[in-house]
């Protein structure tokens, strides 16, 4: 199209011109039209000014409240690169050592532990027998994380909230054990807490869609951890 426009070019054409998507010949014919059409010239000038303003907007804006603490709380108990935190390895091992037990939620929930401090001690990996369950639980946690979006939103949030509660209880029980010694009741509760954590992960794995679904017993096939997103 080399001749000048006799009618007004449509909006899409003007945008293509602004975006540099027209051939040189098409662009010239539009410019020729603008020489005799003030309205179109003004419109394309406005579009050009707008695109420049948009491109010039600052790329960084500071949030009005500090979000760092929220991030810290949510990553606490997790570790980079999908590796399993020591506490979860311990949970798997405790499960092996203690065996299954029902109703651990209720034993865990009373009494409500006070808020944990930042220096709550972690469970030492050598405190318990880290058995083949650790590897299985490792894969379970990594797979759940990689497929987090496959969980229904409410399920993902419920899982995170539940894990936070259990982590909090574990930290407090560990602190009490360090302070008062490993009496039978504390050990029982700690075992229950670790087992609850593992059960939570298993339950969540059971909620994943069928494709690639993990076996709910946590003994998992390796399945890759996804790409760079």
């Amino acid at each position: 199209m080399s001749e000048a426009y006799e009618t007004h070019p449509d909006e899409a054409r003007l945008n293509d011109l602004v975006d540099g998507l027209l051939t040189a010949e098409d662009a010239r014919s539009l410019e020729a039209h603008f020489e005799g059409c003030e309205a179109c010239r003004r419109r394309v000038d406005a579009l050009r000014a707008l695109t420049a303003d948009l491109a010039g907007l600052p790329k960084a804006l500071s949030p009005r409240r500090d979000l760092r603490q929220g991030v810290r709380e949510r990553v606490r108990g997790g570790s980079a690169g999908g590796r399993l935190p020591a506490v979860l390895r311990a949970a798997a091992a405790v499960l092996l050592a203690v065996g299954a037990g029902a109703g651990v939620w209720f034993g865990l929930l009373a009494p409500e532990p006070p808020a944990p401090g930042p220096d709550a001690p972690a469970v030492a990996a050598d405190d318990v027998i880290v058995a083949p369950y650790a590897a299985a639980a490792d894969e379970l946690a990594a797979e759940l994380e990689a497929r987090r979006e496959a969980l229904a939103p409410y399920a993902g949030r419920a899982l995170e909230a539940s894990l936070r509660s259990v982590d909090r209880a574990i930290r407090e029980l560990e602190r009490a054990r360090a302070r008062e010694g490993a009496d039978e009741e504390l050990t029982r509760r700690l075992s229950a807490a670790h087992r609850t954590r593992l059960e939570l992960l298993r339950t969540a794995a059971g909620m994943l869609p069928a494709s690639g679904m993990l076996p709910a017993d946590g003994l998992l096939p390796a399945d890759g951890a996804g790409g760079e997103t």
């Binding site: 948009l54 960084a60 980079a80 760079e228």
Partner: protein
Amino acid sequence: MSGDAVRGARAGDPAAFDALYEAHVDRVYALCLRMTADERRAEELTQDVFVKAWRRLGTFRGESAFSTWLHRVTVNTVLDDRKRRSRRPAQLSAVPEGAWSGAETGEADPARRLRLERAIASLPERARTALVLHGVEGYSYEEVAERMDVALGTVKSHVHRARALLLERLEEE
């Protein structure tokens, strides 16, 4: 700094991750805020992005800059969140004026930028998303189409419509 911080964070060093957070949070938040036009949601999504980044650092292979990787995580996080959420009407007043402050200093005309930010926030969701990714963040139309999982022509229509609405609304003020 970034390379060391990434290596440190991958090794599980919280201080290194803190440094990454500090270096990138404003960029992540700005993108979340403009894409959602909802301050509260942008805060939540910014946290989601960093939690996801922490947990997935093991999948970052260093083939691109960390900032590029994080930017992609941010866009995907916002778009995934949108897919999961039920269709809600746009919240035209969800970004208080003060939320647009704290940007780079030395702006020639802060009031003009504020008017533009408000107008962007008032756009329909898809038009706003396409406009922000293409017009503000500099993605090509093809890249936006891929990210939004729509046809190229659809993205162009969204952007053209967004520009027309912006001009209209800026003229009204």
